[in-house]
């Protein structure tokens, strides 16, 4: 449920590093908590985001949740499939349900993120 090649945040985003770039999405835990997602509000390409800044929001039938940017970077693009099929986030949160692609500003910021094992431990803590 929590791929080992990803970084994780306490706000339940994941981040996958690809060279100088990174892809961001929400975790399987997050999509389960939100329920059926009906709309993804995502930032325009070119926008500079700081770590922990609000990146966008996800709307389910009865709630709206902010998504936070795991690290600083410039938005290179967003998943355009989501405007027609926001449920991809529920169906395939680590694949077709990705949200944005970032150009990383400072790779040192990755050290502050969790690895899969840490995140799973963190989730166990939440459930107790």
């Amino acid at each position: 449920m929590y791929p080992a090649n990803l970084y994780y945040t306490k706000d339940h985003e994941w981040l996958k590093v690809e060279g100088e770039e990174a892809v961001v999405g929400i975790t399987d835990f997050a999509q389960q908590q939100l329920g059926d997602i009906i709309y993804a509000e995502l930032p325009p390409a070119g926008k500079d985001l700081e770590a922990h800044q609000v990146l966008g929001s996800l709307e389910s039938v009865k709630s709206v949740s902010d998504i936070y940017c795991p690290v600083s970077g410039e938005v290179l693009g967003v998943n355009s499939e989501l405007s027609q099929a926001p449920d991809l986030i529920n169906k395939d949160p680590y694949g077709q349900g990705w949200l944005v692609r970032l150009k990383l500003k400072d790779k040192a910021e990755l050290d502050a993120l969790m690895k899969a094992a840490d995140y799973e431990k963190y989730l166990e803590g939440l459930e107790h």
Partner: protein, 448 residues
């Protein structure tokens, strides 16, 4: 009888439950010096008959109906077909609160859906909300909506927008770090294009203008839309006399991104400025930034057509401080009246009514301009209102006309520098040829 449901016994039990001896002790955290001692200084109670008599007497002080009035400027005296009163006061529709629960309120939700549909048809835009408080709050919500879409802090507002609407925009935007810039008007009475061109900068979210504007002049919306879009800003249009939409091209067709306004003209009487009826429409792509409620069409578990509130995630009870607006309600009863009014008139009826307004205003303009000393202030095309200039301050003339039983027009001098000698004159389908000629005669006499 007492209208306060809590009894002395209830009070005692409640105080005992929280361990307080008396109401005084409950409130002793409030400084003694500002605490109310004894009862409020109010007059004694009245019987039902006395109350009715009291309000009848107050009501008789309303003198408006004893005058021949040519006032407008945001509030219009149109004829209201009796069917509007009859249908809108049916018991099923009368409620102190708008019932939104789909299980019990299909009738109300359907009328809201129909209202939205009518507003979309009139404005030629994709989506409309269930209504807002009035035209002024609509104008303020429109600039905030444009600002959310564009995320830039400069807002251009036409100075020939209703001054009260402008005040509400200032109130709404005052503490938001936004920059409101007023655009001057030209000799036609329209938004001054040169002034507008120089006011745009890359930080501009929107141009908000009114058409017909506060001087009654119809704006060239196509040009304003093109100019706004060229500067990557939105065009928001305010319609305060929506009867004009029976004849004029729909603002959405001319390029307006947001259309808002006041729908009092659609079946609501004049009443000290309210309750009136704001409306708002936009393109579908902006639906998540549209304030207010939206009723949507759907099907129930048995496949039957039905109506529910939809897209509520924009609203305050879900999105909290990030909601599109603090408005979580609508003017449902006023919207119901507007719906009945428009559905009674129909497309052809509204068109005919708009023609009547246009023709009667044109006749009045011709009659009044024939009087020596009277001239037109602005050269732009008008619908049912126009500004005239007189050889002396309107304040003096207005008083003399009032003495003759005529409310001749709205003074502009308080809101616009240099227009002390001018008045905004409004003519609707209710004015007869005799009314218009009587006004001409009276004006001739007071100008002698």
């Amino acid at each position: 009888m007492s209208y306060i449901p809590i009894s002395d016994q209830d009070k005692k039990e409640m105080l005992a439950a929280i361990g307080v001896k008396s109401i005084e002790e409950l409130f002793n955290c409030i400084p003694e010096s500002i605490r109310l001692k004894g009862l409020l200084n109010l007059p004694g109670s009245l019987s039902e008959a006395e109350i009715l008599g009291y309000f009848k007497e107050k009501g008789n002080k309303n003198s408006y109906n004893r005058y021949l009035s040519f006032l407008g400027g945001g509030a219009y005296d149109h004829y209201i077909p009796t069917v509007v009163d009859y249908l809108s006061s049916r018991g099923e529709f009368i409620s102190p609160y708008t019932p939104y629960q789909p299980e019990v309120s299909q009738g109300t939700l359907q009328t809201i859906f129909e209202f939205q549909t009518l507003i979309c048809q009139l404005t030629d835009l994709d989506i409309a909300n269930a209504s807002l408080y009035d035209g002024a709050t609509g104008a303020a919500e429109a600039v905030l909506m444009a600002q959310r879409i564009k995320n830039k802090k400069r807002l251009l507002v036409a100075s020939n927008l209703n001054p009260q609407y402008r005040q509400v925009i200032y109130t709404y935007t005052k503490n938001l770090g936004l920059e409101v810039v007023e655009i001057p008007y030209d000799e036609m009475g329209r938004v001054d294009l040169k002034g507008l061109e120089s006011a745009f900068n890359p930080e501009t979210s929107v141009l908000l203008c009114q058409s017909p504007n506060f001087f009654g002049v119809i704006e060239d919306l196509k040009t304003l839309a093109d100019l706004s879009h060229r500067h990557e800003a939105l065009l928001a249009v305010v319609i305060s006399e929506p009867i004009s939409l029976g004849l004029l091209e729909a603002p959405g067709k001319l390029g307006a991104d947001i259309v808002t306004g006041e729908a009092q003209s659609f079946g609501l009487p004049l009443s000290f400025g309210g309750p009136y009826l704001g409306f708002m429409a936009s393109q579908k792509e902006f639906v998540r930034q549209l304030p207010g409620r939206i009723a949507g069409e759907t099907i129930d578990v048995e496949g039957r057509r039905g109506f529910v509130l939809t897209l509520s995630t924009r609203e305050q009870h879900i999105r909290r401080e990030k909601a599109t607006s603090n408005i979580c309600t609508n003017q449902a009863h006023c919207a119901l009246r507007a719906t009945i009014y428009l559905e009674t008139l129909g497309r052809q009826g509204l068109r005919k009514l708009a023609w009547l307004n246009l023709q009667k205003a044109a006749y009045a303009l011709e009659q009044l301009l024939a009087i020596p000393g009277v001239s037109r202030k602005f050269s732009g095309p008008v619908f049912n209102e126009f500004v005239l200039e007189f050889p002396e301050p309107w304040k003096n003339l207005s008083q003399k006309l009032e003495d003759k039983g005529i409310l001749g027009g709205l003074a502009l001098g308080n809101d616009y520098r240099g227009l002390d000698n001018c008045a905004l004159i409004t003519v609707t389908e209710k004015h007869t040829r005799e009314n218009i000629e009587a006004y001409g005669q009276a004006l001739r006499e007071v100008l002698k």
